[in-house]
């Protein structure tokens, strides 16, 4: 298995994987199928178990229960070095006492590749990430972005069948992060490898992924394309996690096929009767209008100009509602404003379970 099919992308299949650290249940019955050549992003808040999942796939931690397949092989108990996986760590894990060239060539050296072959491969990999001029430097003498590219080069030089990345962009400044994002995406499609990418940044997830897996407290919340996850969230958590600024929520009840709460009444044809629901709509799906003419009235809190848009924050029964308005919009000294919502983009959730409730009008 070891060498003959090197470099061809492989699928990954995670079957009911659990992980305990002593008594702490960190990953709960995780099942995921990743196709060969797919770019999958594991997304979730801090501490939800993303890194743990990645380390289980890499074999750096043992799996408490469940199975893991790479390609057709069951690798549940296989040592990391036999899994043919490359990983880029959040800290990059560059060896401080080795030069850039030695760092990049390290995997080949471990595979006992002849020196001459290593040199050519290192040069090729370095040029691919535009590091050709830095080969003799030590990691301490590089900038954050350059270090990141060294780590990348060290991963691609092996032509692994699976690529794992743990928040590789989180140490970079905003501009560099944008550039590297594009570069990563290009690199992945060119190499055609299977990639599992961990992040807590939903913009990275949206822009990079073929499919996104949203994780919370070690449980898989939703798996789908970025578009699906964004526009069709399975529950309150996913709805609130995706999008920036996040979705607005108002709690209330459904009575007579309409959503009601103090001072608000919104018709929702087909919605089942329920006492405790949460209504959600995205900032871009609502508009500020004159008081009394929208679906509800709220107190104006702030207005922030972000450049291409104005974010208006309002307060309704103690919760905040954000509306995204075009940049020409001026709030003036209005105290109370109306909010008009787009009836086609309303989301309804059961407040207790957090699950999505579908009404005819909210499909």
């Amino acid at each position: 298995m070891k060498n003959k099919d090197k470099g061809t992308a492989k699928s990954i299949s995670i079957r009911s994987m659990n992980k305990f650290f002593q008594a702490v249940h960190v990953l709960k019955d995780l099942s995921l199928e990743v196709q060969a050549g797919e770019f999958l992003v594991l997304l979730g808040p801090s501490g939800c178990g993303k890194s743990t999942a990645l380390r289980l796939i890499a074999g750096l931690e043992s799996i408490s229960s469940g199975e893991l397949f790479i390609g057709e092989t069951n690798v549940t108990n296989v040592l990391p070095k036999y899994r043919d996986i490359a990983m880029v760590f959040q800290s990059y894990a560059l060896y401080p006492h080795k030069t850039v060239a030695e760092n990049i060539g390290f995997p080949l050296k471990m595979a006992k590749t002849p020196k001459a072959d290593i040199d050519t491969a290192v040069l090729a990999a370095a040029q691919q990430v535009e590091l050709g001029d830095y080969l003799e430097r030590f990691p301490g003498q590089l900038s954050g972005g350059q270090r990141q590219r060294v780590a990348l080069a060290r991963a691609i030089i092996r032509r692994p069948s699976v690529f794992l990345m743990d928040e590789p962009l989180s140490n970079l400044d905003a501009k560099l992060r944008g550039n590297m994002r594009a570069e990563l995406k290009y690199m992945q499609s060119k190499l055609g490898v299977t990639m599992i990418y961990v992040t807590h940044d939903q913009i990275e997830a949206m822009t990079l992924a073929h499919r996104v897996a949203v994780l919370k407290d070690g449980t898989l919340q939703q798996l789908g394309t970025p578009k699906e996850v964004y526009s069709n969230p399975a529950n309150l958590f996913v709805a609130g996690f995706m999008g920036s600024p996040p979705m607005n929520f108002i709690s209330g009840a459904i009575d007579n096929e309409s959503f009601t709460t103090k001072g608000v009444k919104l018709p929702l044809p087909g919605a089942p009767k329920s006492n405790q629901v949460t209504l959600g709509f995205r900032p871009e799906d609502c508009r500020i209008v004159k008081a009394g003419s929208g679906a509800m009235d709220a107190e104006v809190y702030t207005a922030e100009l972000t450049g291409d848009q104005v974010l208006v924050t309002l307060q309704l029964h103690g919760s905040q509602i954000v509306s995204r308005m075009p940049k020409e919009f001026e709030i003036g000294d209005t105290q109370i404003a109306g909010i008009e919502v787009d009836a086609r983009h309303l989301y309804l959730f059961d407040s207790e379970s957090g699950l999505r409730i579908t009404a005819d009008s909210t499909r």
Binding site: K2, L79, K81, Y82
Partner: protein
């Protein structure tokens, strides 16, 4: 395929293979001798030509040390206890009982209680030994002498070493040379130190003979006065080991973040407050560990008394190790092992108590 099977097996068990040599070496050269030594301590051994013959004598060797003809040698004599001795012994007993009561009242766990009970009994025993021998004007034995070396010696080394380290932790001209100079005595072999200090202490031909004569002690032979001899050994030992305390604590002092002391300075702390409030608490864990190491090593003291006084006058400067060595030299292996085991017993209890009550207490408090 075969080789990859082997290499995979190696990979999986490499951790054990890494640990194995150390464990095997310790088992063979430390644990096995330890067990064998215990067996020897219960026997009389005669070296005969190439081999040796063994006769099992039960507790006889220990009996002789604690209650028999060697009692004066190991423990000292305690014919009659003086009033001061009695008073001190009673006070110490009451204090120790009070300490146990406080512990039991505060928090109780079986293991913790047993541990403290052992500490308690050892402290009680040593306190009564102290009052029955030294405080009552009786002769005290090698155990007392060893404890003198350990506690007085380590105390001096700790105080001076810490002071020097703190002084050198400031930035001023010449610190580097001072550091190098202060480190030198540690590099000299202990028996060398013993001989050097014998030269230093010579009242007629040594460098300070003029001083001795001027004070009127020209004819004073320090080697024949028990206390002068003991103190001199402590001085030589301190000369050699202060550098160790110094270098470790210097590293600790330098690792105290500057921000802390600077913040304290802005808050109006004076130099002494900066030291007690900021620097010292930061350094204390290291200091505790360093002193534990020093105490462990100090219990083994043998070269200096051997070289400087051969244990004399009489047995005044003999340490337990040295007593055991002398027993070995007279080919009494059973006695040698029994004495060594007494030393081991005392050392382990004192060191583990120290570790438990000082080093670990801080860890517990922190967590």
């Amino acid at each position: 395929m075969q080789t990859s099977r082997v290499s995979e097996w190696l990979d999986r068990h490499m951790g054990r293979l890494f640990l194995m040599p150390a464990v095997v070496l310790i088992l063979v050269f430390s644990i096995f001798p330890l067990v064998a030594s215990l067996i020897i301590a219960f026997a009389r051994i005669r070296l005969t030509g190439g081999g040796f013959s063994v006769r099992f004598v039960g507790l006889r060797n220990f009996e002789k040390q604690f209650f028999g003809s060697e009692q004066f040698h190991l423990l000292g004599t305690f014919t009659d206890i003086s009033v001061i001795g009695l008073l001190f012994g009673l006070l110490a007993t009451l204090g120790l009982i009070w300490w146990m009561v406080l512990y039991v009242r505060a928090h109780f766990s079986v293991v913790g209680f047993l541990g403290r009970m052992i500490t308690f009994l050892m402290a009680l025993g040593l306190a009564w030994l102290f009052s029955a021998t030294l405080l009552s004007g009786n002769l005290f034995g090698t155990l007392g002498t060893t404890l003198f070396y350990v506690f007085v010696g380590c105390g001096i080394q700790f105080l001076i070493g810490t002071a020097l380290a703190y002084a050198c932790s400031f930035q001023f001209r010449g610190t580097t040379s001072f550091r190098v100079i202060f480190f030198v005595p540690m590099m000299i072999t202990p028996i060398g130190v013993g001989y050097i200090f014998r030269m230093m202490a010579d009242t007629t031909k040594g460098p300070f003979s003029g001083v001795w004569q001027w004070v009127g002690l020209g004819e004073f032979a320090w080697a024949s006065d028990p206390w002068a001899a003991r103190i001199f050994i402590v001085v030589a030992d301190s000369w050699q080991w202060i550098p160790f305390v110094f270098i470790m604590l210097l590293a600790a002092f330098e690792s105290v973040p500057r921000d802390f002391t600077e913040a304290a300075e802005l808050d109006g702390a004076n130099a002494w407050q900066k030291f007690t409030e900021i620097t010292w608490p930061h350094v204390l864990p290291v200091a505790a560990t360093v002193m534990l190491i020093r105490v462990i090593e100090a219990f083994k003291i043998v070269d200096l008394p051997n070289i400087m006084t051969s244990g004399g006058p009489g047995i005044a400067t003999e340490s337990v190790s040295l007593q055991s060595y002398f027993a070995w030299r007279s080919l009494d292996l059973g006695q040698a092992s029994a004495i060594a085991y007494v030393l081991l017993f005392v050392t382990v209890i004192i060191c583990v108590s120290f570790f438990n009550l000082v080093v670990l207490a801080r860890v517990r408090k922190a967590s």
